[in-house]
């Protein structure tokens, strides 16, 4: 049983490295990213209602929905959390929990190892698939409907859009360069099912990925990435995104060293838990939207 949903949302940080990294992506979004934290805060922001009794009623229903495992919300949360932590498991950094402490990039540099490009590519693809599966769990579209996800992607806003922006910028552009989409796809085409099974991020979530075998799952991942590539390329060109631009903006918010770019990908993996942070926000929002409609 996970932590209660209201506790998760109440514990979301208002500052720190994840929040700063996400704020640095504001320039890619229409309007600024609002870091909405706090369960009652989210109820008021999503519904526009402020009456205490009514917001309590809404919150109660949202809590009940989340706690009913059959509704799939806990599975979605698990996906967001697992992807966040699996990608951070670089293996070589034995570091204590640094949340709240000053994480200076140069300070921990010696403990990081840049991930090989292939592993970064697979990570990117698996994270994208996690997004699709979580989307389906939360919104109820049938599990392998990539087409429905793509249609909804056009309507993505707020924390969901910033999560996709972070995926493109932090997991695509920075570690893999401007050619990340092609590299991602090429990597998949030369990846065997057994290669895939060795990937930390994939291992973490494989039971939820559609496909009867690792081969089947690889097929689903490839198809998803191919289909979403158009959106990602469009996102990059609409914002004239380059790795340099992303790093420049990141540097305004997070203390990084621009001549250690190959370590930056590993650093971001380790400390920027954007999937979990914005995933919890998306989950809370959907739950509350449903709760207020059902009461």
């Amino acid at each position: 049983m996970s932590k209660p949903i209201f506790e998760l949302v109440d514990s979301l940080p208002t500052g720190g490295i994840t929040v700063m990294a996400l704020k640095s992506l504001d320039f890619t979004l229409p309007g600024k990213w609002q870091n909405l934290v706090g369960f009652d805060n989210t109820i008021r922001a999503v519904t526009g209602e402020t009456d205490d009794d009514l917001t309590k009623q809404i919150g109660d229903r949202a809590v009940a929905l989340f706690n009913d495992k059959s509704q799939g919300y806990q599975r979605a949360l698990w996906l967001y959390q697992t992807v966040s932590s699996a990608s951070g498991a670089l293996g070589t950094a034995a570091l204590a929990n640094k949340i709240g402490q000053d994480i200076s990039f140069l300070g921990i540099l010696k403990n990081l190892t840049p991930k090989p490009e292939k592993a970064q590519s697979i990570d990117l693809c698996v994270k994208l698939v996690a997004e699709i599966v979580a989307f389906c769990q939360i919104n109820g579209i049938p599990g392998d409907s990539v087409g429905d996800f793509l249609a909804a992607l056009k309507d993505y806003g707020g924390e969901s859009l910033v999560r996709m922006a972070a995926l493109v910028c932090f997991d695509g552009l920075i570690p893999l360069g401007p050619d990340f989409a092609r590299k991602g796809l090429d990597s998949l085409k030369t990846t065997s099912a057994s290669d895939l099974e060795k990937n930390q991020t994939f291992k973490g979530i494989q039971e939820l990925i559609p496909g009867d075998s690792p081969q089947g799952k690889l097929g689903f991942i490839t198809e998803s990435f191919e289909s979403t590539r158009g959106w990602m390329d469009g996102f990059v060109s609409a914002n004239s995104l380059t790795p340099e631009k992303v790093v420049d903006n990141l540097g305004k918010f997070v203390d990084i060293s621009k001549d250690k770019l190959d370590y930056l990908g590993a650093f971001l993996d380790m400390y920027v838990k954007y999937y979990e942070h914005t995933g919890i926000q998306t989950l809370a929002r959907r739950l509350i939207e449903r709760a207020v409609a059902e009461i």
Binding site: M1, P4, F6, E7, D10, F39, T47, G48, E49, T50, D51, L54, K56, G59, D60, R61, V63, A64, L65, N67, D68, S70, Q71, G72, I138, N139, G140, I141, A152, D155, G157, R286, E289, R290, V292, A293, E294, I295
Partner: protein
């Protein structure tokens, strides 16, 4: 070597520390604690009744996009379906149908003072208007922008195929 008195002082200091540490690490009390307890207890009733209609059955009763307004699917779960109403790319309202079976949602309609489309209607909070169809299905329109008024909500409620929904078994 400690005297008995010092041992007692030490023990009470230690106990206070233990209590302090435990209190600091426990999450703060929340007004949702009771609901959390009730809905995670062994044998707790599911949030959605087994007999609830699948959300996919509701899709055909939603209004289509109108001039200037786009209607986009948002959620489809057991007992629930929801669409967004967007105007110029901005979300202005939500449309929802839910099955009230097994929930207390239908009871508020007993105090209904007006009808829409021939069905008992209520205003809820500042932003929602709902009707109850066939004593079972709640159809609700929620404003997500101040430009989407109470009158707009009433008008959109009547755009649903409410009669069709009433015939759903």
């Amino acid at each position: 070597m400690m005297t008995t008195r010092w041992r007692r002082v030490f023990a009470s200091v230690l106990l206070s520390l233990v209590l302090l540490v435990t209190a600091c690490s426990a999450p703060p009390a929340s007004r949702y604690d009771q609901t959390q307890k009730e809905t995670t207890a062994r044998g707790a009733a599911p949030a959605v009744a087994k007999a609830a209609e699948q959300g996919s059955s509701f899709n055909k009763f939603f209004p289509k996009g109108q001039k200037g307004f786009e209607v986009v699917p948002a959620q489809e779960k057991k007992g629930f379906a929801e669409y967004k109403v967007n105007q110029d790319g901005k979300n202005v309202a939500m449309l929802a149908i839910s099955d009230t079976t097994g929930t207390a949602a239908a009871s508020k309609f007993q105090a209904s003072t007006f009808t829409l489309g021939g069905y008992p209607a209520v205003e809820q909070g500042q932003t929602a208007t709902a009707v109850l169809v066939g004593d079972r299905y709640q159809v609700k329109v929620l404003s997500r922008a101040t430009s989407f008024t109470k009158e707009n909500r009433a008008a959109w409620l009547e755009k649903f195929d409410l009669k069709g929904l009433e015939r759903l078994k």
